[in-house]
Amino acid sequence: MTEQRQKLTLNKMSFKFIYLFLLLFTTISGNAQEISSLILQPQDKTRYIGESSTFVINATLKEADYIVIEQSDITTTLEIKPQKDTYCKTINLNPGENTVFVTLYKDAKPIGKSSRVLYFLSELFEGVDEYELDEYKIRFFHQDAKEKKCASCHNMTSNIPTNNEALEDVTKTTCYECHNSMISTKNTHAPAANWLCINCHNGKFGEYNMQDKGASKYLVADPVAKTCAECHEDVKEWEESKFGHGPVNDGRCERCHNPHGSDNEFFLRKSIWELCTTCHAEKSNGQHVTSAIGFGAPNKSGGHPTRDREDPARPGRELTCSGCHNPHGSGGISLLRMKGTMPYGVCQRCHKK
């Protein structure tokens, strides 16, 4: 099931109908009742660390024709079928605060509505302020009481392999039914694409999320590095390197990598240059390294290129920050990819005699 984002298009309706519709809308919309039990899930003021939020909507209260979910400029319509009472829809949140409206329509008239204010915390996007967060709580879905409500339609018992033997046909897993949009990205992390969810979502907690102990059977330990290191043997080596990178030192691989997958290489949350300059914003001013050293320095221009050309040291790859720096750690200063202890050795990767 792929994300269906349908904008209400009116261009096929007759002009007359549009006029009538607008007239009705403006006169009647005010009459749509606030129905508190319309949205079963999520709870208001929920804080997300992933971008997707699943709405569960109870359509039994009014004999509606369809449901409209509005989230800033994205509108999704769900047809109501006679035999079905509960409707699920996963939407993608924008970084920061999101207000999502759910409205029931009958005969093109809104007859009931409710809304949720949700917060997607991602440090990688501007305008996301942690200080706003106090009123938003992370709420875990997979708890017995909540699962019970879903059990009439969904098999809530995990059939994910726990023996490290991935299934031939992953669509048969119980998680797939609701979470399949998770792996629609260009690159997917193998355990996610193979639906070995429980390998990471093992219910364990770490130093940074001790407060969530027992809150969900699918909890992931924070910091996550120990979980990653179960497969990625390099992690240990990186953690021990002489000069470390903050997120690596912290064991928070997921700050840069999306463990499910992404459209960028190495499942990075942004392309490498964009990702690095999210935190190291001052490095994007075009005055990198060479405007501070050499003849005529310091100057405002003539910085060392950081992108938009081929990397001479890595044929076939575009030049980017990671061409000279190793984001996982280094034996030398500035996380440079140098052999031995001479910082300028890194220059010789490209500038050979």
Partner: protein, 394 residues
């Protein structure tokens, strides 16, 4: 008369002497088979017999009476005792010195009763006679003479061997194996099993080259490797290859021929899994031609030609997908997709699952008329087609 009587006499004498000599040179079947290297140029006599002093051993001067005492005490009056070590040859222990040595005279050195050591030995050890005559490969010291390894009188090692017969004796000649097996990085645990060399080799010989105790190296290997063994070095488990081959009937060539040793060195090696030549130890490795034992049989063009229409069928158009996967700085080793022993689910020795980290991921291969596709751990389903190249977006 043309011929004088003297000339005729000469011919008669020559003919007579030839016939006498020929009669003396008639060899028995055993002598023909085992040789006559102990045969002396003239009769060998026991010194007391040579002196004519029968009373040294006998109670009477004619030598017709009883012995003055029984062997071996009698012999030990002059000769060193031959029963002083832990293991004693039966006849020696029984005092039957004369079973092998003639006390008076003999045509053979050491007064032995046969003209070669081996002929003498097999006169009792008849099963070994049978064995030596009917076995294709006889260990050369055995063929030469049994006493190369066995002391005919007494020794401190079982079977009167000159050193422990399970290994120490072997490496007295095969010193290269001693050095090799103790210095290689990837050792074979069988060498430390109770029977050591004899776990695989028959020290006397066998029907199979290298004196193996089973008909093929595969049969031999599987006599141990049909259960999951534990590696001595790190306690890790080794695949139950017997069961694996039983469950996966599409076997790699060398296994069809029964020759595990085509790839593995049973004495150990400095390569992964005791391979005869290198193979990457890790899932990913920088591609180097010399790092792949596979090229012993498989053409290197399969991996090394970036574009080809002949070297491999794993290509998208002429784009060699083997090259794409393997031939790079972070190249995948063959094991990512192939199982070198046996497979079942897919053709081309493609494995059903790839182990990455600790997880077994299915490769989900689908073959088509001109190509195929797979959806392994590494990427979403990607297609290749030899006739009409596919474009893969994910």
């Amino acid at each position: 008369m043309k011929y004088s009587w003297f000339f005729i006499l000469k011919i008669v004498v020559v003919m007579l002497s030839v016939s006498v000599f020929a009669q003396g040179a008639v060899l028995t079947d055993a002598e023909k088979f085992y040789g006559t290297e102990l045969k002396a140029s003239k009769k060998v006599q026991h010194p007391p017999f040579e002196w004519g002093d029968c009373t040294v051993c006998h109670t009477d001067a004619k030598g017709e009476g009883a012995l003055i005492m029984d062997p071996p005490e009698l012999c030990a009056m002059c000769h060193e005792a031959k029963d002083t070590k832990a293991f004693i040859h039966g006849p020696v222990a029984a005092g039957a010195c004369t079973a092998c040595h003639n006390p008076h005279e003999s045509d053979n050195a050491k007064l032995l009763t046969a003209s070669s050591i081996n002929e003498l030995c097999v006169s009792c050890h008849q099963a070994k006679d049978e064995f030596m005559r009917n076995t294709a490969n006889i260990h050369s010291p055995v063929k030469d003479q049994c006493i190369n390894c066995h002391d005919p009188h007494t020794e401190d090692h079982q079977y009167q061997l000159k050193a422990d017969g399970k290994k120490d004796l072997c490496v007295m000649c095969h010193v290269d194996k001693e050095v090799w097996t103790s210095t290689v990085t990837d050792k074979h645990g069988a060498l430390d099993r109770p029977r050591k060399c004899l776990e695989c080799h028959d020290a006397h010989g066998s029907e199979v080259p290298m004196n193996l105790i089973k008909n093929t190296s595969k049969e031999l290997c599987l006599s141990c490797h049909s259960e999951s063994l534990t590696r001595d070095e790190d306690g890790s488990k080794i695949l139950n290859i017997g069961k694996h081959l039983e469950n996966n009937p599409d076997w790699h060539g060398p296994i069809l021929w029964g020759d595990c040793a085509a790839c593995h060195n049973p004495h150990g090696s400095n390569n992964l899994r005791m391979l005869n030549k290198p193979f990457p130890r890790t899932f990913y490795d920088k591609f180097e031609e010399d790092n792949y034992i596979c090229f012993q049989c498989h053409e290197k063009e399969k991996i090394m030609d970036a574009n080809t229409t002949t070297a491999t069928n794993f290509r998208n158009g002429s784009n060699n997908m083997h090259f794409v996967h393997v031939n790079k700085e972070k190249g995948r080793s063959c094991r990512a997709c192939h199982d070198f022993h046996g497979t079942k689910e897919y053709p081309h020795h493609l494995r059903a699952k790839t182990k990455f980290g600790k997880i077994n991921f299915p490769i989900r291969f689908i073959e088509t008329e001109n190509g195929g596709s797979c959806a392994p751990a590494c990427h979403a389903r990607r297609h290749y087609d030899r006739a009409t190249p596919k474009v893969n977006l994910k």
